[in-house]
Amino acid sequence: MTQALLSLRGVTKRYGSIHANSGVDLDVLPGAIHAILGENGAGKSTLMKLIYGVEAPDEGELFWQGEAREIESPAIARRLGIGMVFQHFSLFETLTVVENVSLLVPGAKKDLTERIRKLGREFGLEVDPLSHVYALSVGERQRVEIIRCLMVDPKLLILDEPTSVLPPQAVDLLFETLRKLSARGVSILFISHKLEEIRSICTHATILRGGKVTGTVTPKNFDAQALAAMMIGRDMPQLLSDTPDKRGEDRQHLSALSLASEDPFGVSLQDISLRVSAGEILGVAGVSGNGQSELAAVISGETPLPKRLQSKLTMLGREAGALNPAARRALGFAFVPEDRLGQGAVPELSLVKNAILTGHRRGMVRNGVIRHPRAEAFAQDCIATNDVRTPGPRAEAGSLSGGNLQKFIIGRELMLEPKLIFLNQPTWGVDIGAATAIRKRLIELRNAGCAILVISEDLEELFALTDAMQVLSEGRLSPRFTTSETVPEDIGRAMIGASGGAVL
């Protein structure tokens, strides 16, 4: 057997009384594409942080190319040849792409710019090196992260949910890249919930549950159902059968809206029309950076519409273009934003206080005074009904894992009993168990007569969830596809269609 590039023996990490990792053994062989599978809170992210030197293990040993090593900081990890793309990005928003890269990669800015363009073309990770990060969508930011790692020629590349923001064609390109890297002897640690992906590309898979390793397998030898069962320790929850009821009245209507972006790096919306009815889920497909953020801001009310355009948007039977987000909520509208930390929730505040954020209308405030018991009961209820894993309602939102926080936010919005709900990337970075639970809730809600609008980059999700789809590409929205009569290739074509493939 060849010498492992990286080996872990009995690695344990505790946070207070919680064992995030407990006695983990792991061997990553040179050139392996090694999946780490596990639910939210299974300890995947912690394990990666230990390997990348962000955290130090409490017990256990780490061997790099056969030698016992301590990795005290990410700088040391990088020097050894370990690169990592985090789930939450570590980019400075006020700097440009190339400036962000130059923080970690030596070299003249001009050369770096050229290399970024070249890598982008090679791996389908195109991004303008001179644009500012704040103007990039989540998807584009991840591309920058991946490029940044590839630039230092790593021996081991850690990817935390890398494919979740890429369109199917780009995923194929990325996989091609990963295979090339693997052929050159670079090992890849790959965290994903997309079991089909893991089966198609990974040579090894280590499965974590509750911080412990429950098995290391060759994923090709198992089907997705079996892998999922190993991961969550029980059978996969099934989605409700997809039987749309008769559509009800129109709940939201956006007609021929064109809106120039004020941000020089933003995408202008052109001639956008959509309609969501009661008892219907409409999906907006497409890759981030094609106007998703802009469209979301228009629908949520964060971008107020100029006067001449106000009549273009109606919600729940009222002209809503002039209404701010609070006024729209008062009509029965709810919104789950793309960004969980800092938009959907305040990381420094407890779940109780985060419940008040949008839930304050539900009896939590009287005469301008907050009624904490009510808020706490609401938060408690939200935690219980949505299976949010947390020590309790007084835990800070920032201490929850991404998936659990998303469950809390969606749960909170659903508890407002909306007649119209809009979700932007509802399951991005959420593990399969949680994502399934979220989708199940949405379908129940749809069946109860709610109108639902979902923006997502995850085609699998949109096909499993929606009744109809439209594709957003370069600020234009395609005509409506009825999901049951459509195949992914149609959507893929629509994604490329408008732009002649420039997105890829």
């Binding site: 207070g16 130090a56 301590e70 964060e302 987000p325 609070a326 909520r329 919104f335 800092g342 954020l357």
Partner: protein, 357 residues
């Protein structure tokens, strides 16, 4: 290289809570010993003057209360804005406007009497402070003008306004052109709270404002909205909380409190409008607010700490013959040591652990 990291403590332990300020004091004191030895001043006399004398008598303790009052008032108002990340740096100007507006009554009605005068002066002063802060709020909302710069610059404008009034229309006609107003009549002075001292009812007001600030921060929905706006502006926008509303509210509250403090100062120990009504209270209040962790209760402690330091410093000049520069060094080093100690109350140093190798 092994560098220790600062890790947040889950809960501050009580011994640490008590040890931190004591340790800070000890470290600062030791550092300054060297200085005193170098300039030939008796360190025992200095420490006695700075740290014991302020508490040595009823009168000197009352002076701490007197000086803490305006600091406490101004800082409570500022902290509310700072929590919302709206940086009103111009409390000094709002303080001066408060003093000017309050003085209008005794200046224009020097003969008036009655128990309504001093309350009316305080109210007028608070409104004056708010109005001055409103200028900043208006331009911030209207043109997105930076509130730090506008409020700070307005402080200098307010000083010119004060000097104009004192050299011109409000000059005491009996004072041979010296720049001050008439002495206020008895009814325009705040009632004394502690007999035999200069502590007046404004201290009660400051405590009342503290309670109100606590309630506002902890319990009110408006306070909650400001907090969200400060911690996560995107979340506030997402929830539909008005950013402009937050700017107005923060600045009006800050101006109100600083204006009240200014009014209480002219109607209290000063007793007339003059050139120097503020010893930089508006700026010191910024330190007080942050030293108190922007928390209403913490600010009470920091206001008294700073007040004690100021008075102790003056004492050290009077009784220990310490030059002003050395006083400033002591005050500065004590604050610095305290801030470092306070960091360790909430955090601890963790050295990277050695794995078995």
């Amino acid at each position: 290289m092994r560098l220790p990291k600062l890790v947040r403590r889950e809960r501050a332990s009580l011994p640490v809570l008590i040890a931190a300020p004591v340790l800070a004091l000890a470290i600062a004191a030791l550092g300054n010993l060297v200085l005193y030895a170098a300039i030939g001043v008796n360190p025992v006399a200095v420490f006695h003057a700075m740290l014991i004398e302020p508490f040595a008598s009823y009168f000197s303790m009352s002076e701490i209360l007197l000086k803490a009052g305006p600091l406490l008032l101004s800082a409570q108002g500022l902290a509310i804005g700072f929590r919302a990340k709206i940086f009103n740096i111009g409390a000094e100007g709002q303080f001066v406007l408060g003093a000017i507006c309050a003085s209008a009554i005794p200046v224009y009605m020097p003969q008036a009497s009655g128990p309504w005068i001093w309350p009316a002066m305080l109210l007028l002063g608070a409104l004056g402070g708010s109005a001055w802060a409103a200028i900043t709020a208006f331009w911030r909302v209207r043109l997105n003008a930076n509130e730090i710069l506008v409020s700070l610059m307005l402080s200098f404008v307010s000083l010119q306004l004060l000097i104009y009034l004192l050299l011109g229309p409000w000059k005491d006609p009996m004072a041979l052109n010296f720049p001050h107003s008439v002495r206020f009549q008895f009814d325009a002075l705040l009632p004394i709270l502690l007999p035999g001292t200069r502590v007046n009812v404004s201290l009660l007001l400051a405590l009342l404002v503290t309670v109100a600030a606590w309630f506002f921060v902890q319990r009110s929905f408006a306070g909650y909205q400001l907090e969200v706006g400060g911690l996560a502006p995107n979340a506030a926008r997402y929830a539909g909380y008005s950013q402009n509303g937050a700017i107005w509210l923060s600045l009006l509250i800050g101006g109100f409190a600083a204006g009240l403090a200014g009014a209480a100062e002219v109607a209290g120990p000063v007793g007339q409008l003059q050139r120097s009504i503020s010893t930089g209270y508006g700026y010191a209040a910024i330190i007080v607010a942050y030293l108190g962790g922007l928390h209403p209760i913490g600010i009470v402690f920091s206001a008294f700490l700073l007040s004690t330091l100021y008075i102790g410093g003056d004492n050290a000049m009077v009784s220990a013959g310490l030059p002003i520069a050395a006083v400033n060094v002591f005050q500065g080093s004590l604050l610095l040591a305290y801030l470092i100690a306070a960091t360790f109350v909430r955090r601890r140093l963790v050295w990277p652990q050695r794995t078995r190798a």
